[in-house]
Each structure stands twice: as structure tokens, then as C-alpha cells.
């Protein structure tokens, strides 16, 4: 925003101050996320920049915390690093097990949330849907209700139904938590959906299923994928429900991090954090690309 030529000196001063304030707020937003990246390469077990790090001395940096992620929990971490060592790591290393669990739980709950959520969004965006706002309010509520309450309720429910400590229990719970995101993104894509396209397909003789897969689906696909990514991240990041209803077997990345932070926080946590930041950068870029593609497909000009 350029400063107009008629601005008084006071207004000019204010404009510069305003920019500085905005810069500081952006710094507040982003600095905590970026600060963990260099610190995760610290050779010392400290959470601050050592003098050697500040002098960019290669001696001050190391990959030892990333190595810990591999070896922590292994049966023979000191063995020579051959195929047997990697097999050991794959089977026993805690962080690798947690990653496998997180991905399994995330994938299935995302699938469930996306399929059910997309169908429901198609129904909800029809004008003739009965009790639309009430049903919408119910379906969005898992996002609003505090996680601790959901977790408490699920704890009672699962201990009664025998789902406690099972993968199925966590997958169902995470699907419930991901559903609001799918509904919100898919209904947003369906706003401004040109229904004459489906009518045209029908008048040309396409069966409803053909119309759905050939006309509707490609148009709403970007929204569906964004919704799925939101649902996946929700599951991938969720710790409260896991703490309450998961058994010892279902150790996920966030739960492992939670334990790490509570017990003794070591720079290995920062190494995990760095990897997760990179994952979130990748996810964010994907969602942004999808959003632009969706806007182009629907002929909506970006705001």
C-alpha cells in the first residue's frame, strides 16, 4: 500500500510504524516454527545456539539427534550398519514404529472421513435438504467440542464396547474429528457449482453414476483432496484421544512427542519437529496448488 503524497508527517510516521508492527507480528508467527530447524543440528544437548553454531563452525553442527531417532529403541544400535541393522531399526526403533502407526491410523481415518464427508457434503449442498442447518451444526460439532470432552466420552464408550486399545477405536475417533474439515472444504467447493452441467449430462443420456464420476467428481476433486489432507493432518497431529483410548501398541508420533516433552526434552524432539515442519510445508503447498486449480476449474477468479 503506497503512502499517498498528501499524507501529513504524522501519517507517514504512522505508516512506517504500522509496517514495523506487521513485520513483528509475522515474525511472531513464523519464527517459533523456523527456530527449531537449526537447533535440531546442535551437537550439544542444549536448546540454545552455542558459540560454535553462531560462528558457523562445522564442528558445532551434527546429525546425531536424527541418528537417535533411528537408534532409539533398537535392540543392537551399536552393530555395524548393514541390512540386519536396518531390519532391526525398521522393526524396533520407537520413532519408526510410531510413524508406521500414525500413517496407518491417518490413512484409514482419512479414507473413512473423506468418503462419508463428501457424500454428506453433496447432500447438504442441495437446496431441498431437510433440517439442513441443524444437521450441519451436528456434523461440524466434533471440531468445536473440546478434545478433552470428546476423549472423556470416548473413554467411557470404548471401555464399554471393548474398542479401547484397538486400532479400530482410534481410526473411528480420528475419522469423526476429521469429518468437519472434509465437510467445510467440499461444501465450499460446491458453492457456485454449475448444476446445469449435471443436467446437461443427464439430458445427453448419462446415468446418475456416470454423471457423478465424469462430471461432478473431477470438478469437486480439488476440494475433496484438500479436505482429505486436512483430515489426515488432524489425525496425524491428534494426541488427546490417543492418550485416553489407545493401548500400549498404538504409539503414534504425537504421543511419542508428548512423552518426550513431558519426561526429558532432548534435541531429538527438535529433529522430529523439523521433519514435521517440512511435512507441513509440503502439505500446505499441495493445498494451495489445489485451491488455485479448483478456482480455475470452476471459473472463479481469485478474490
Amino acid at each position: 500500500m503506497p503512502i499517498p503524497s498528501y499524507a501529513t508527517p504524522l501519517e507517514r510516521f504512522w505508516q512506517y510504524t504500522y509496517r514495523v508492527i506487521c513485520g513483528l507480528v509475522f515474525l511472531f508467527l513464523i519464527a517459533p516454527i523456523l527456530i527449531v530447524i537449526p537447533l535440531s543440528f546442535n551437537v550439544e544437548p542444549y536448546f540454545t545456539f552455542t558459540e560454535r553454531m553462531l560462528a558457523f563452525d562445522p564442528e558445532g553442527y551434527s546429525l546425531r539427534w536424527y541418528d537417535t531417532l533411528l537408534t532409539f529403541g533398537m535392540q543392537a544400535p551399536e552393530a555395524p550398519r548393514d541390512a540386519a541393522w536396518w531390519g532391526d531399526a525398521w522393526r524396533n526403533a520407537h520413532w519408526i514404529k510410531a510413524t508406521k502407526n500414525s500413517i496407518i491410523i491417518g490413512a484409514f481415518s482419512t479414507l473413512l472421513a473423506t468418503v462419508l464427508g463428501t457424500l454428506a457434503a453433496l447432500g447438504l449442498s442441495r437446496p431441498e435438504m431437510p433440517f439442513r442447518s441443524t444437521i450441519m451444526a451436528i456434523l461440524i460439532s466434533p471440531m468445536i467440542v473440546p478434545l478433552i470432552i470428546t476423549a472423556t466420552g470416548l473413554f467411557f464408550f470404548y471401555s464399554m464396547t471393548g474398542l479401547a486399545g484397538s486400532y479400530l477405536g482410534i481410526i473411528l475417533a480420528h475419522a469423526t474429528l476429521g469429518i468437519p474439515f472434509v465437510i467445510i472444504t467440499v461444501t465450499a467447493t460446491l458453492v457456485g457449482f454449475d448444476h446445469s452441467l449435471t443436467r446437461a449430462a443427464a439430458s445427453l443420456g448419462a446415468a446418475p453414476s456416470t454423471t457423478f464420476f465424469r462430471i461432478t467428481m473431477p470438478l469437486i476433486l480439488p476440494g475433496v483432496i484438500s479436505g482429505a489432507l486436512f483430515a489426515f493432518v488432524t489425525s496425524f497431529d491428534e494426541v488427546v484421544v490417543v492418550l485416553f483410548v489407545a493401548g500400549h501398541e498404538q504409539q503414534t508420533i504425537p504421543r511419542q512427542m508428548w512423552n518426550g516433552i513431558r519426561e526429558q526434552i532432548s534435541p531429538a524432539i527438535l529433529a522430529v519437529a523439523t521433519i514435521l515442519v517440512l511435512v507441513s510445508i509440503a502439505l500446505l503447498s499441495t493445498v494451495e496448488l489445489l485451491r488455485r486449480r479448483s478456482e480455475r476449474l470452476r471459473g472463479v477468479t481469485p478474490r
Binding site: 506487521c22 517459533p32 466434533p142 475417533a173 493445498v287
Partner: protein, 415 residues
């Protein structure tokens, strides 16, 4: 065809009926699409929460394991001092409970209302088989506390499975020995102050978020799209980053040997022994939660500010308003829907936060959620946890309803 004849379709049906039939099938089709998800959410979400609400008023531990004494309580009015029949019933129940190994369950139940009584039950339970008539003397000999009127009042309260007692505890109320409701002594009030602290801190966090979000949302809304999209990434990246990662970062930044303190010491602003305590207290909770919730304030503000026509402010300026007046009288009122949406959303999310306060809050930065978790995992007073959850849920539902009325759930946007 006369004017009074109803309009009909080609196959002779009255048009009104044909239309209604078509609309009904359209409604039905729409509902069938939503039904599977609705069923899913009801089973995996609403039923568990309903069950939790039930548990907050229902605790059968005492009547299920102490049937004879429960029967005596039912037969006598409140405030009756225990007679010989009562002691006989108590002894019979204790014997039976000891045989079933359920004395500890009963003791725990009474312990919720009268701390320190669990050991009374378990100790007497171990010797219950040896109790012989007359039971009053036998029990009072075993432990004089069996004659305590407060104990009998607590047992009477616990004798009905459905009880408002957990809500009373959750509101720092208690029943006196004669059954009247009164507030607990000042130093034992825990929950009401914690609810107040939760709402207070949430309000402070909401205010801080608004203060920080307003300038950057304004900047994002007025910059050319190319630049604002780039800066938007700085808002969206935290939104997509794991909550635990962001909390860890704040621990790294704020702790005594952390980045901020070390920098201040290195710059000579602080002495090495004067390091600031910014974490494991309320300050830590407020800073970290403001950071976590800031995107939820920026996004609604931004989407409202984008639609504000800059011509209005320019018109105000050209009519002689100072820039402050133009902002206050013209710009600010137009942003109110965004402020409302963002503030409500942030407040709703803040009230129920658990992870961040648990990790960076220390003792003074804990919120009500942390106490619910404590009662679920450590003290194992599940009914009290359920009652606290129900109260928190009530607050959140009211705020959610308000959000739906004022802003509409349909207008919730993500990025």
C-alpha cells in the same frame, strides 16, 4: 376448463400433488446422502458424549455394593441418626462386600465426598468377617469414625445412584450434615476459581489475538494479491504445523536456558542470574496459545476486510475526516463481522484447550481441561470429571449456538 379446476400434469395428477411428490423424493435423496455420516457421527460422537453426561449424574458404586444399608437410607428420612438396624445393615453389607472384594470401590465412592474415608472402609473391610453383634459397638470399636455424622450424611448422599452431587462438587458446593446446600470453605474452592481463570485467560488470549491479527489482516487485505498470497503463507504455515511442534518451539524459546533468555543475557540486557521465567506459568500459556490460535483470528478478519471497498475510507477523507476518524467511523464498523467471527472462534477453542497448558502452563497456567484430565487419569474420580466436562460442554455449546446465530456455520472457512 373452468377457472376453479385444479391445474393438472399431462398424466392427470393435480399439479400441487405432483410437485409435492417430486419435492419429497428430492428431499429424500438429499437426506440419503447425508444419512450414513449422520449415523456415524451419532454413534462415534453423540452417543459417547451422552454416555458421559449420564455418568455425571449416575454412580451406582454404593447402592450396587451396599444393598441393605441403601434400603435403610431409603426407608428413613434425611438427617436420621443411625440406629441399631442401620449398623447391622452396614455390617452385613461390609461382610458381603469384603467377600466380593468391592469394599475399595465403595470406599472410593465415599472418599470423593469425604476425603480420608477410603482407608476406613478398606481397614474395616479386612476385619469384616470377624464382626459380631451388637454391631454398633463392634463397628465403633473397629474405628470410632463409623459414628461420624458427616460420614453417614456422605453415605446417604451416595446411596442413590442418580445424584446431583458431582455437579455440586464441580461448583464448589457441598451438602451439610442436614442436607442443605452450602459453599465449601474458601481455601477448598478449586473448580469455580479454575473456571473463572479459564474464562479470564481465554478472554485475554482472544484480546491479544485480535490485537495482533488486526494489523496483519488489514495489510493482507490491502496489498496486491501477489504479495498478500506470499505473506498468507506465513499465516497458514503455523496453521498446518503440528500443535506439539509449535508448543515445543515455545519451550525452546522461552525456557530459562532457552533462546530468548540466552540472547538477552548475551546482549547484556539481563544478568545471568536474572533470567526471566516465561514458561511453566500463566505467561507461557498465554504466549503459546496466542500463537497457536492467531491464524483462527486472522483468516475470518482477512476474508471480511477483503470485501471492504477502499472508496468509503477515501470518501470520508475527502469529506474532511482525519485518518483516525475515517478508521474509527468508517473502516472499523465494517470489520465487526470479522472481529465477531474470529473472537468467538478463538474463545471457543481456547476455553477447551488441553495440550498447550499441560506442557507449558506449569501450575498456575492450567485450565479446566487439565483438571478434567487429572480426574480421569490420576484421581480416577470419573463422575466428577464427567460433571466438569458437562459444565464446560454447556459453555461451549452456548458459544457455538451464538456463533451459528451470528455468523453461520456455513461461513466457516479454512485457509
Amino acid at each position: 376448463m373452468s377457472a376453479t379446476d385444479p391445474l393438472t400434469t399431462a398424466d392427470g395428477l393435480p399439479l400441487k400433488r405432483a410437485l409435492m411428490r417430486a419435492q419429497r423424493s428430492a428431499r429424500w435423496r438429499a437426506f440419503v446422502l447425508v444419512a450414513p455420516l449422520l449415523l456415524f457421527v451419532v454413534v462415534t460422537f453423540l452417543v459417547p458424549i451422552g454416555q458421559m453426561l449420564h455418568r455425571s449424574v449416575h454412580n451406582p458404586a454404593f447402592p450396587a455394593n451396599m444393598p441393605a444399608l441403601t434400603e435403610w437410607f431409603r426407608a428413613t428420612p434425611a438427617g436420621t441418626s443411625p440406629d441399631d438396624r442401620a449398623f447391622a445393615a452396614l455390617a452385613a453389607d461390609l461382610k458381603q462386600a469384603a467377600a466380593n472384594r468391592t469394599v475399595a470401590i465403595v470406599g472410593t465412592r465415599i472418599n470423593y465426598d469425604l476425603p480420608g474415608t477410603r482407608s476406613l472402609f478398606t481397614a474395616t473391610g479386612r476385619r469384616a468377617a470377624a464382626l459380631a453383634p451388637p454391631f454398633r459397638t463392634a463397628l465403633l470399636e473397629a474405628d470410632a469414625r463409623w459414628g461420624d455424622p458427616a460420614l453417614w450424611a456422605a453415605m446417604r448422599n451416595a446411596s442413590s445412584a442418580y445424584t446431583p452431587g458431582f455437579y455440586l462438587s464441580a461448583l464448589d458446593l457441598t451438602r451439610g450434615n442436614d442436607g442443605t446446600i452450602e459453599r465449601v470453605p474458601e481455601q477448598r474452592r478449586v473448580y469455580v476459581p479454575l473456571f473463572l481463570r479459564t474464562f479470564g485467560l481465554s478472554a485475554a488470549i482472544t484480546g491479544l489475538c485480535l490485537l495482533l491479527a488486526f494489523p496483519i489482516a488489514h495489510m493482507l487485505a490491502t496489498l496486491p494479491l501477489r504479495w498478500s498470497n506470499l505473506l498468507m503463507i506465513l499465516v497458514l504455515l503455523p496453521f498446518w504445523t503440528s500443535l506439539l511442534v509449535r508448543t515445543t518451539s515455545w519451550i525452546v524459546l522461552l525456557q530459562q536456558q532457552g533462546v530468548i533468555n540466552s540472547t538477552l543475557v548475551a546482549l547484556g540486557i539481563l544478568g545471568d542470574d536474572g533470567r526471566l521465567t516465561m514458561i511453566y506459568n500463566q505467561t507461557g500459556t498465554v504466549i503459546a496459545m496466542t500463537h497457536v490460535l492467531l491464524p483462527f483470528m486472522v483468516l475470518p478478519l482477512y476474508s471480511v476486510m477483503r470485501t471492504i471497498n477502499p472508496a468509503y475510507v477515501r470518501a470520508a477523507r475527502s469529506l474532511g475526516a482525519t485518518s483516525w476518524t475515517a478508521f474509527r467511523r468508517i473502516y472499523l464498523p465494517q470489520t465487526v463481522p470479522g472481529i465477531g467471527a474470529g473472537a468467538l472462534l478463538v474463545f471457543i477453542l481456547a476455553v477447551g484447550y488441553y495440550i498447550t497448558p499441560a506442557l507449558v502452563g506449569g501450575a498456575s497456567g492450567q485450565l479446566i481441561s487439565n483438571l478434567i484430565a487429572f480426574h480421569m487419569q490420576d484421581s480416577l474420580n470419573w463422575s466428577l470429571a464427567a460433571a466438569l466436562s458437562a459444565l464446560l460442554l454447556g459453555a461451549v455449546v452456548i458459544l457455538y449456538w451464538l456463533y451459528d446465530r451470528l455468523i453461520g456455520i456455513d461461513n466457516m472457512k479454512l485457509g
